[in-house]
Symmetry: D2
Subunit: 282 residues, 4 copies
Amino acid sequence: MKTLFKSVGFVARYDKKKALQLTESLAEHLMTKGLEVYAEETLAGKTKIRLETVPLERMHTDFLITIGGDGTILRTCITIPKPEPPILAINMGVRGFLTEVDPEQAVKAVDEILKGEFSLEKCMKLAVEADGTSFPDALNEVAMLTDEPTRLVYARISKNNKPILKCLADGLMVSTQTGSTGYSLSAGGPVLDPGLDSFVLTPICALSVFKPIVFPANSTLTIEAMRPKRILVLIDGKYKKVIDSRDPTLTVRRSKYETSFIRIKENFYHRLKTRLLFKGIG
Amino acid sequence: MKTLFKSVGFVARYDKKKALQLTESLAEHLMTKGLEVYAEETLAGKTKIRLETVPLERMHTDFLITIGGDGTILRTCITIPKPEPPILAINMGVRGFLTEVDPEQAVKAVDEILKGEFSLEKCMKLAVEADGTSFPDALNEVAMLTDEPTRLVYARISKNNKPILKCLADGLMVSTQTGSTGYSLSAGGPVLDPGLDSFVLTPICALSVFKPIVFPANSTLTIEAMRPKRILVLIDGKYKKVIDSRDPTLTVRRSKYETSFIRIKENFYHRLKTRLLFKGIG
Amino acid sequence: MKTLFKSVGFVARYDKKKALQLTESLAEHLMTKGLEVYAEETLAGKTKIRLETVPLERMHTDFLITIGGDGTILRTCITIPKPEPPILAINMGVRGFLTEVDPEQAVKAVDEILKGEFSLEKCMKLAVEADGTSFPDALNEVAMLTDEPTRLVYARISKNNKPILKCLADGLMVSTQTGSTGYSLSAGGPVLDPGLDSFVLTPICALSVFKPIVFPANSTLTIEAMRPKRILVLIDGKYKKVIDSRDPTLTVRRSKYETSFIRIKENFYHRLKTRLLFKGIG
Amino acid sequence: MKTLFKSVGFVARYDKKKALQLTESLAEHLMTKGLEVYAEETLAGKTKIRLETVPLERMHTDFLITIGGDGTILRTCITIPKPEPPILAINMGVRGFLTEVDPEQAVKAVDEILKGEFSLEKCMKLAVEADGTSFPDALNEVAMLTDEPTRLVYARISKNNKPILKCLADGLMVSTQTGSTGYSLSAGGPVLDPGLDSFVLTPICALSVFKPIVFPANSTLTIEAMRPKRILVLIDGKYKKVIDSRDPTLTVRRSKYETSFIRIKENFYHRLKTRLLFKGIG
């Protein structure tokens, strides 16, 4: 049998014993099937079986298996080489909205995947720039915050280089469809259907009256901090960098890269219903 | 000089003296310029000058002038023959988010328009169907409510014929980009950029946890009332009809018709800032 | 043994077979214990055992048992003679936030109550007046709406006869602490701790920027509809009346009457957590 | 004439020329009237006239004049010796919700105050404790945040030592009536009428479903951070301290001290309407 995938990389929460055990058993299973198996460097010496480890930023495999929650996925997508291989996300975390299978179904899922029985959910990412500073693409969102919790951001927002609005808030974020069920939702943003080519600008605790605004994905959004001059940029809640300039300005647009999730059966609205307390009554 | 428009129709608030006066002076001005001038039937006998009146549903003119607020525009768009002629909206109402010019600039605006100095803002409308019942297209939104204020709607929502979620609420609405700054905003919905091909499903006082969801404009959304069996459908806050069936079901999709507004200078975000208290501070 | 309660009245959902069955078994159980048992008139002929029925408005018993959801409780509290006897609320409805016991625990609960093993949760009610029109006290909330779903209410609000704010909205409600977890919560209001002497004014889909405001329970709140002149007053989602006057004005203050719930073990925050999806994660 | 106040202290924004000029002219005016005048230490050498300066923490005067915005007031109330003297707040800042008079009316206001023509608005403050750490009282709010913007707080909340709810959020704040129109409002909290003895617990971007809850002012609220172990406590957006312990726990209750504002004519709802964009339409 010819398989689609010849190599696989593992990224797992090394602070969870069960995640390590699942890594071991899945790795052995996939070796038996003839795949080359690699593990993220941080797993070195943590597993009972010997696994070849590589740093995440140099992991070039046909697909990836993440064992953890959304945090593990986000961390992976920020670091792996582009374009990204497809990801099978196994849920072993507090928050598993993006994940696909529970640990008990992992072996079965892997077997189906090797037989080609899966679909790919392609997720738009955001390319983020600031004057002289480059950032990793965001799968969920990019947030502009102050470096000081005691201060507010006063920002001017432009769409395709035309100023549209100003906002005074704890911060501002631009979120993808994928991210619309994460931080943006907590801050009061809408859910974006995965099929909608768009991103949403969501204020965080706005002092001025300012509602979330949904833009077409081909827009270029610019957020210029008029105050303060030192701001914090946070990508997917995982990567952060302080910008300190005369006019700290973020430019956000659709990235040319995507993240691909391997999906077997569940779909977006099923996950929304069952994992986000988005429930009807009766 | 060759003008683009040879005939014009007036729709005005006949309960406002100033609206009638402006109708008179603009109508005379346009007659002088050689245009055929018509007025909505309800204005018959209300103006000092004699105007030829026709019912709104048979008004076939090259463009329309509405003198009133958003309510006047919405009422006009529901009734006029399709496809709709462009609308110049003069603001003489409580709420004038959709309007373009103030009464003082009306003559100047009309002159510019006759010279072709304007742009057209095309606004998507929603086609709404229910079993055996047809509705006018919605420019702002279509809402499903109960006929009884004491009851809640328990509805099943489907996207492209696949059930996605259930909701228990005072009501549910589907709003266009244009409508996203109206009733939907009051109910907690996001603002949709006019360039985004989309509509938003916004619950009204949801009892279950249910957030606004933004869909691609090419989706077909179905809202099936599981309880009660008698529901009220409300289009643009102007047209209402009670459906009383075993399974009252609304189907909402993009209409093939649009509404076109004549715009001279202001744009969407300018209106958002100045008319919706969407202001930064300082 | 001397029991506290010598007579009991039953109010039950007569459209639910299980509610009728539980009424029968509990009634027999209580007759055996020597209590006088009455049932609401609507149950006449619906139960297999013969029960003496009286209209709700003339039911003078030492305590009441409601079998249904919050709707059954609210309907009961609106109608029974004042001051109200304590209520044991058995949950057999869609929404049972106010209820105390599940059907399975009903017999046990009743036995404990007869032994005096319970506490009383006293709930403030709102006295509602309009010019020449009197309303039943509200346990949850009183809402001012338009009689027409197509219209908005434009209201002037006064506190202790001093005008404080104006509001343009679908409607306005004043909610008690008890009601703060009901309709008011759906409309965006806060939760009021049961120990806080207060009520909250919550707008329904406000067009103007208007946030919920919490007032001391000894305030008198006046809501004057400036537009339209015909408004609908809705008490606890059960009682409604149209007021049609020059200046329809609602006056809301703390009632001298209370509703008392018999509580055995659960408390407010337990109910909030388990019945309102008010859950932490992990 | 006998005056109520014999000494006055000035606190002003030393980064604003106009604030310094107003300090000078008011100080001279009050010296002429025979009052002892002091200025906050940071103003030393900044004014053209010689003013006796003292550190804010040792300023014992009969009343205080602040010249700035809400930030200046909050900074003052955190630092001055307790009990606090009354404050006349002159508005010269971005956000002046708490302030009383504009610069142009300052001299007139001062003259009226010396004649006793004013009322005092007494504002409750919050006493905040953590294991071994003491904090200044909060006039607006105390917030518990993570020290790391990438992390969430997972907290257990108790009322009078009884656990009531858990919450997963960016942070949590407890806000006074005064603070209810500030940060808490931005985070989605209700407005608390100044006459209501209460405070409100408002989550900041809650991941779990968690609504603001209003408690009686005599409650003791405990917020225990279960994750992370290092949290940031922020008082009135001005004072911050990191707590790093096994179970970082905040205890919040009503303080025995109050802040008193000198009010001449405006009242709470007038300020709400005119300064918070809390406007009706039409």
